[in-house]
């Protein structure tokens, strides 16, 4: 599958040609661009212009999250904040891929329904842990650094969280293109992969006490975190 948008060919050229009042040069660019777009649209069976770009995707989502965090309406209700953030993040994170990766080889040992149950538990664990943590937000800024494309379907977006008076925290998002949509499947904080960290924990528990024990522990954790929301 060829992703045109990634090379950034047509959007800048189209914009440029509209600005220059379509002189001779403009027409040439426009027609070339049209041919290119039509070619790829045909080859792809889909309009190539819609192909998203991972940096824009991350930027949009993070900026939406920051807007909510800066919104005084959510200041004193962590539960409301969590639910709002959940709505924003939903659809941008690939919880199935995360849960599968975090279980490692044990994923294949589970039945279909167990897998679905675990994805659900894992999603709630992530939401309660990290979205809940966002309630401590105190004006940090996010700097978007760069993006590495890993072939057509994988990308890595590097960002910094800037805290006043402290070293910036490096946050990296790993994304996969699925159904014409970039979805995050791992996050690295200071180069520590979150999913790898959970994989080590989960595999230790499974190897020692078996999968049911892991489910029990995760459920307890979610309950504990939910309780901390109520106490606030």
């Amino acid at each position: 599958m060829v992703r045109v948008g990634l090379e950034g060919i047509e959007p800048p050229k189209l914009g440029g040609s509209q600005k220059v009042n379509l002189g001779c040069f403009g027409w040439t660019v426009l027609s070339v661009a049209t041919v290119v777009i039509l070619y790829f649209a045909g080859a792809n069976g889909r309009v190539a212009l819609a192909a998203p770009d991972p940096m824009t995707e991350v930027k949009n989502t993070v900026n939406q999250v920051l807007a909510v965090l800066n919104d005084p309406a959510y200041k004193n209700s962590p539960r409301k904040l969590r639910d709002r953030l959940r709505e924003i993040v939903e659809g941008h994170l690939d919880f199935t891929a995360m849960a599968r990766s975090a279980l490692g080889p044990h994923w294949r040992e589970l039945s279909k329904s167990d897998q679905e149950e675990f994805v659900n538990l894992f999603r709630r664990l992530m939401e309660d842990t990290y979205i809940g943590k966002a309630a401590n937000y105190s004006g940090e800024k996010v700097e978007f650094l760069n993006v590495y494309n890993e072939g057509p379907n994988y990308a890595q977006v590097n960002t910094n969280i800037i805290q006043p008076g402290r070293d910036p925290i490096k946050v990296t998002y790993r994304l996969e293109l699925k159904d014409n949509d970039w979805k995050v499947y791992d996050v690295l904080v200071d180069e520590i992969s979150l999913i790898s960290n959970y994989r080590t924990q989960f595999n230790r528990v499974i190897n020692r006490d078996g999968y049911p024990k892991l489910v029990e522990l995760v459920k307890n954790k979610i309950q504990q975190l939910d309780a901390s929301f109520d106490s606030k």
């Binding site: 891929a97 990766s101 490692g104 080889p105 044990h106 664990l125 842990t129 943590k133 401590n136 590495y148 890993e150 072939g151 994988y154 890595q156 008076g165 402290r166 790993r174 499947y185 791992d186 180069e191 520590i192 992969s193 999913i195 790898s196 960290n197 959970y198 994989r199 080590t200 924990q201 989960f202 595999n203 230790r204 528990v205 190897n207 892991l214 522990l217 995760v218 954790k221 975190l225």
Partner: protein, 305 residues
């Protein structure tokens, strides 16, 4: 992350003395032997190691976990270190954070960093990174004088000389030594065998070991390690307090964070050679990109099995 800086109270000074003959001459010989060994190392080797370092860390396919045969013992020590942090280190760090403003604590952190120059210098040398080793010397000279005994870092802010973190554990990894089993040491925190040995060797490089009496050395180490740990924790209190929040199995979380961090440092040490060889090529940029992509794809496969 949590236990990383729990290295307080004791340094195994006496053990070190048994392991390494306490004389400057033996250290010089050690340096020479190491240097001649590194000269023999084949140039292609480091490149092969980049690929090796990018493989998922020591993951035996069956268990998909790090090598941890001492887990039962390690878990006991881990609990001990947690209690120690709970009842001693954290309360003291909190108190310290109240007394001293952040800029002061950061300056003290820089001071401890500056006096620890010898392992950084020596290990950059062991890995034949002469430029980095020289920069470490320059940094030390500048920061000790202009930087007022190392409380400030003008070498970085005025001259753009960055610190190049190094230790003997990384040097061992650099020359192909595997990380061995995971260890949790009481008072000191997480190690793997390779880094534990490296830690002892780095300690043996400290000249005060050979200038002062054993008792004095133990006192000094105890003070320095306790003070720097407390100072470090006082700057990262939220992180230490939240550790439990983020994990289902705290022991595994600490283990994984420690090993990922160490592998990251090793990968950086190995990438130095890649950079150097690629700089020479006229079309270096495209092949750098390609190498970067290959290594990152390999790294991704590590997490996305």
């Amino acid at each position: 992350m949590v236990q990383r800086k729990l290295r307080i109270f004791l340094r195994l000074a006496s053990c070190r003395r048994l392991l390494f003959v306490p004389s400057g001459a033996s250290f010089a010989i050690l340096c020479l032997v190491w240097y001649s060994l590194t000269l023999l190392a084949l140039p292609g080797r480091a490149v092969a190691q980049v690929a090796a370092a990018n493989k998922p860390a020591d993951s035996s396919a069956s268990s998909y976990a790090y090598s941890d045969p001492l887990a039962p013992l390690n878990e006991k020590f881990f609990k001990f270190n947690l209690e120690l942090d709970n009842y001693v280190t954290r309360p003291v760090s909190k108190g310290w954070a109240k007394v001293a403003p952040l800029p002061v604590r950061k300056a003290i952190g820089r001071f401890f960093d500056n006096i620890n120059v010898i392992p950084r210098f020596a290990n950059n040398l062991f890995q034949l990174k002469f430029k980095y080793a020289g920069e470490e010397v320059a940094r030390f000279l500048i920061n000790t004088t202009v930087g007022l005994a190392g409380f400030f870092d003008p070498a970085d802010s005025w001259f753009g000389l960055k610190e190049h973190p190094q230790d003997f554990g990384i040097t061992l990894g650099y020359y192909g030594v595997g990380m061995g089993p995971y260890l949790m040491i009481p008072f000191f925190g997480p190690f793997d065998l390779r880094d534990g040995v490296g830690y002892l060797v780095d300690g043996a490089m400290n000249p005060i070991d050979y200038l002062l009496s054993l008792v004095q050395v133990v006192y000094i180490y105890t003070g320095v390690i306790a003070a720097s740990s407390v100072n470090y924790e006082s700057q990262h209190l939220d992180l230490f307090e939240d550790a439990d929040r983020y994990s289902v199995d705290l022991y595994g979380a600490v283990q994984d964070a420690y090993i990922q961090r160490r592998q990251q440092l090793l990968r950086q040490a190995l990438e130095y050679n890649q950079k150097k060889t690629l700089d020479v090529q006229p079309n270096g940029s495209s092949s750098t990109q390609k190498d970067k992509q290959t290594s990152q794809r390999a790294a991704m496969r590590g997490t996305n099995f």
